[in-house]
């Protein structure tokens, strides 16, 4: 048997080396290797070296755990990140659920109310909360004015302020991450559970919820990792007690120049992020991150699954009883509107703080008062006549434009390569292009700073463009990959049979058809760079600052109405580009 099988086997034809599609990813791979993998690895290496002798040492790590102050920062960081994740999921889940059940065209509109806060600069959002929560802020003034409060509440520079800012910053991310999984759940499954005798509450817990779990978990993963590396919100809204790991890293690098210790802190952050990713992959599979319906691991058999089903059974029983009771007390009409009402409140929470900033940009007052005592364009005049602000604005536009072009080109070729390739390396390369989204920005930024210091790229526009491209690449890559997913490759075959070579097919058939995806990628990359702060803090030195860096410096030093005027401009630029990108993305899918 075996011998015949072997003798009949066709010997493979001698294979000529072919320029396979995967080569198109080569520029991106090289770029990420030099400006992402190497700097991060180098930073990790630094953390194990003795600064003077270069010998291997664990001293820097020991110092973190031995020094009470540092260890406390570590615990606070985990605590804030975990709480942020918890609340973002709790607040975000019903909102995503509601959005997922809307008819498609209405969802397209309502989702903008999440997209706009998602892309709004963290600086603008934090600035908004300072105005809302401050001692003389909106809430305290309303409270005092109406006599509800006898003395102003302390809402800022404590854990409450940080949590409000963090949850506000992270809920859009959570919603947008779990939404694709939820919209992918077949509506007929809940209908089926109804025809089989399940009350709506039971149908939700026994059918919908378990199917939405991979999405919720993906949202938890991304919120946790992003929160770990956060510094803008705790720095502006928190007090000394809420210092987080990223702030500590910034101090170590900028003020103390202790690279090795900063490396050790970054390594801890990165390890936590990667371990969380690994755990997620073990339970759900990383593919659910891209919104694909869970199959494979989520349906695993075993103790965990049995336990999960038992918990859901219990939840289903309880909530079915509760909702039956609630329906009886409140009436069916009221209980069905509760969710819509809740979502209206959430949209208000997400949108309103930013909208408070807009009128303040036009205030006539010297102070950040709300509502403004009068209106004028004084602060815009200050903004546009300040050389520093104007130069920063121009630089931000220039850097963002260059970043968008580079990221779209590199990401476009990489997406093309992966869409056409069946190589076993595909999954790994895909993961690499998404990795800058997973690795905390502060880790990338510090790693790049170290590299740029050696290459002489600190305080140069080139350095900024490179750094921003690393961060923007995943967004551009995903935007183009999404369009290519629905692209009909037979059109390229048709072009080939009609006499087009590969380049011609790409130029005259593929590119025109995925144009909207390319433009969306360009715009997302532009926005990413335009309000990027982390890399800018380190790389844009001296007078050569970007707009977010200049805002950050001002905010740390002294809050003033010019910031509101700048915020208005940033908000309008980003929102306009976002709406354009969304419009294009949608028209390409229609």
């Amino acid at each position: 048997m075996t011998t015949t099988a072997v003798s009949h086997a066709v010997s493979p034809a001698p294979r000529r080396f072919r320029f396979g599609p995967l080569w198109l990813a080569a520029p991106g791979l090289a770029f990420l290797a030099v400006f992402f993998l190497v700097p991060v690895a180098r930073l990790m290496g630094l953390s194990l070296e003795d600064a003077d002798t270069g010998a291997l040492t664990m001293a820097h790590y020991a110092r973190i755990f031995d020094t009470d102050v540092y260890f406390r920062v570590l615990l606070i960081t985990f605590r804030i990140a975990a709480l942020t994740t918890l609340f973002s999921l709790l607040f975000g889940y019903p909102l995503a659920y509601w959005l997922a059940r809307l008819p498609e065209h209405r969802r397209g509109t309502m989702i903008l109310l999440v997209m706009v806060p998602f892309w709004t600069s963290y600086l603008v959002k934090s600035f908004a909360w300072v105005i809302v929560l401050g001692r003389t802020g909106v809430i305290n003034q309303i409270g005092m004015g109406t006599g509800l409060l006898s003395e102003p509440l302390e809402l800022l520079h404590n854990e409450f302020g940080v949590m409000v800012g963090m949850v506000h910053a992270m809920t859009p991310l959570a919603v947008l991450t779990m939404l694709p999984v939820m919209t992918g759940i077949d509506r007929r499954l809940t209908q089926a559970s109804g025809t089989l005798g399940a009350t709506p509450a039971k149908g939700f817990w026994l059918v919908y919820f378990p199917l939405s779990l991979p999405g919720a978990a993906a949202a938890g993963l991304l919120t946790f990792i992003s929160s770990l590396g956060f510094f803008i919100v705790p720095a502006l809204l928190g007090g000394r007690q809420q210092t987080m790991l990223a702030q500590l890293i910034i101090v170590q690098v900028q003020e103390i120049l202790n690279w090795a210790f900063a490396g050790a802190l970054a390594a801890l952050m990165l390890t936590t992020a990667l371990v969380t990713c690994w755990l997620y992959d073990r339970v759900f599979g990383l593919s659910s991150l891209s919104g694909e319906p869970s199959d494979g691991k989520s349906g695993r058999k075993g103790v965990l699954r049995g336990l999960g089903l038992a918990v859901l059974d219990a939840l289903a029983g309880v909530s079915s009883a509760v909702s039956t009771g609630a329906n009886r007390v409140l009436g069916q009409a009221v209980s069905t509107r509760m969710l819509a009402f809740y979502c209206a409140l959430m949209f208000a929470f997400l949108m309103l703080p930013t909208l408070v900033v807009l009128p303040i940009g036009f205030t006539s007052s010297q102070f950040l008062e709300f509502p403004p005592p009068g209106y004028g364009l004084d602060w815009f005049r200050t903004y546009f006549t300040s050389d520093l602000w104007v130069a920063a604005t121009i630089r931000s536009f220039g850097v963002a434009f260059a970043t968008a072009i580079v990221a779209t080109a590199i990401g476009g070729f990489a997406a093309l390569a992966l869409a056409r390739s069946n190589s076993r390396w595909r999954g790994l390369i895909f993961a690499l292009f998404l990795a800058p989204m997973i690795v905390p920005r502060i880790v990338i930024a510090v790693g790049l700073f170290y590299l740029f210091a050696q290459m002489g790229l600190v305080a140069t526009d080139v350095g900024l463009v490179i750094g921003h491209t690393v961060l923007a690449l995943p967004f551009a890559f995903v935007a183009i990959a999404a369009v290519l997913k629905s692209y009909d490759w037979r059109l390229d075959q048709a072009a080939a049979t009609l006499g087009a070579n590969r380049v011609q097919a790409l130029r005259f058939v593929t590119v025109p058809l995925i144009k909207s995806g390319l433009t969306a990628a360009f715009l997302f990359a532009f926005i990413t760079s335009f309000d990027e702060l982390t890399v800018a803090i380190f790389v844009s030195g001296g007078v050569k600052t970007t707009l977010p860096k200049q805002m950050w410096d001002d905010m740390i030093l002294q809050l003033n109405p010019t910031l509101a005027a700048v915020s208005v401009v940033v908000f309008i630029v980003v929102t306009t580009l976002l709406l354009a990108a969304e419009r294009l993305r949608r028209s390409s899918q229609a």
């Binding site: 089926a192 025809t195 089989l196 005798g197 039971k202 026994l206």
Partner: protein, 359 residues
């Protein structure tokens, strides 16, 4: 013990003037329908004819705009879907992907609060019924299309609902498998005696499965009756055209002075029978291909050129052009002599083989 007469004659399902509209768009005009216990009724019609809307209102997934609905004589119009004692087999099965085959089938029993021992027993029985006992622990995605369909059927039959609704359940299967599953569904129906309402747009499926067919068109019932009746005695040109192959001659009624009535069509004057026909009324005459003979043999004759000869295995079909843009299909059984392409031939049929319908 004698059942009360009104209960004995009670239909399983009574649809009393049920209607649905979405704003100005009418999905179903007021409809009356009675389904007897144990009956297999098919809702047949093209897409947009209102058959799925009717099914969804019976299931409770869609609320009617007007009308009422009775199951076993109880008014169930306002009953929410999960409290209605109905089963629905979805077009794409709607199996829960996170539950195993056995858990899927056990789901309705669990919702009804059965003990786990009872659930286990009944699930095993249901799996036995659809011959899937060996796949109880699998997940739906690990099954073939036909197996998924059987699980969906078992999940529906296992709790013995008062009425089982099936929404084009075989639509996603290929032709061979579809025909096989038709037999299985018919077999299940015979074994369980369930009342089944089946939606399809496939007329062959409807003819093969149903006790009665409810033919729907333009959001209303066009004709209702046993398959052979609908086939042999269509009441409208639509019914004749939708089920089987029909030759339809449209024209105007001419009542002769001698009492003989004719239909003036593009293919000539055709003799028709019928009382109370208004002169000049627009009517249509339906003649099935198997009732048309080659050659002259009766009062009704048409002439035309053979435009196409289609070989179909068990028979050969001739397409004869009897007037401009009007072709008649004729069935010729194997062994009979065939005319040549382009030949001018005479076709005829017995008057009783033709059915007069409204156009």
């Amino acid at each position: 013990m004698l059942a009360k007469p009104d209960q004995a004659n009670q239909p399983k399902l009574l649809v009393d003037g049920l209607a649905k509209s979405y704003g100005p768009a009418v999905a179903l005009k007021p409809t009356h329908l009675a389904v007897e216990p144990g009956e297999f009724l098919t809702l047949l019609g093209p897409s947009g004819s209102g058959k799925t809307t009717l099914l969804q209102m019976v299931s409770g997934l869609v609320a009617p705009t007007q009308g009422r609905l009775f199951i076993d004589g109880r008014d169930e119009t306002q009953t929410p879907v999960h409290k209605r004692d109905i089963g629905l087999v979805f077009q794409h099965y709607a199996l829960f992907p996170h539950l195993t085959v056995a858990e899927n089938i056990g789901f309705p029993l669990k919702m009804r609060g059965l003990s786990s021992a009872d659930i286990q027993k009944q699930v095993a029985g249901a799996l036995e019924m659809v011959q899937l006992g060996h796949l109880a622990g699998r997940f739906p995605r690990e099954l073939s299309g036909g197996q998924q369909q059987r699980v969906a059927l078992a999940r529906c039959f296992v709790y013995k609902p008062a009425i089982i609704l099936m929404d084009e359940p075989l639509g996603a299967l290929d032709k061979k498998l579809r025909e096989h599953m038709q037999f299985e569904i018919k077999d299940l129906h015979r074994k369980t005696g369930a009342t089944i309402i089946y939606v399809t747009h496939d007329q062959e499926e409807a003819l093969a499965l149903s006790d009665r067919i409810c033919l729907m068109n333009h959001a209303r019932v066009e004709q209702i009756g046993p398959p052979h009746e609908i086939y042999a005695r269509p009441r409208t040109a639509f019914a004749a055209d939708f089920i089987g192959i029909s030759n339809i001659f449209r024209g105007r009624v001419e009542c002769g002075a001698d009492g003989a009535t004719h239909l003036a069509t593009a293919s000539g004057r055709l003799r028709i029978d019928g009382d109370n026909l208004a002169n000049d009324a627009e009517m249509a005459l339906v003649v099935r291909p198997e009732h048309i003979e080659l050659g002259s043999a009766g009062e009704n004759e048409v002439r035309g050129n053979v435009a196409e000869i289609v070989y179909a295995g068990s028979e050969t079909r001739l397409l004869v052009e009897v007037a401009a843009d009007e072709r008649v299909t004729v069935r010729v059984l194997p062994g009979k002599p065939l005319p040549k392409l382009g030949e001018n031939i005479t076709l005829s049929w017995k008057p009783e083989a033709a059915v007069l319908v409204t156009p």
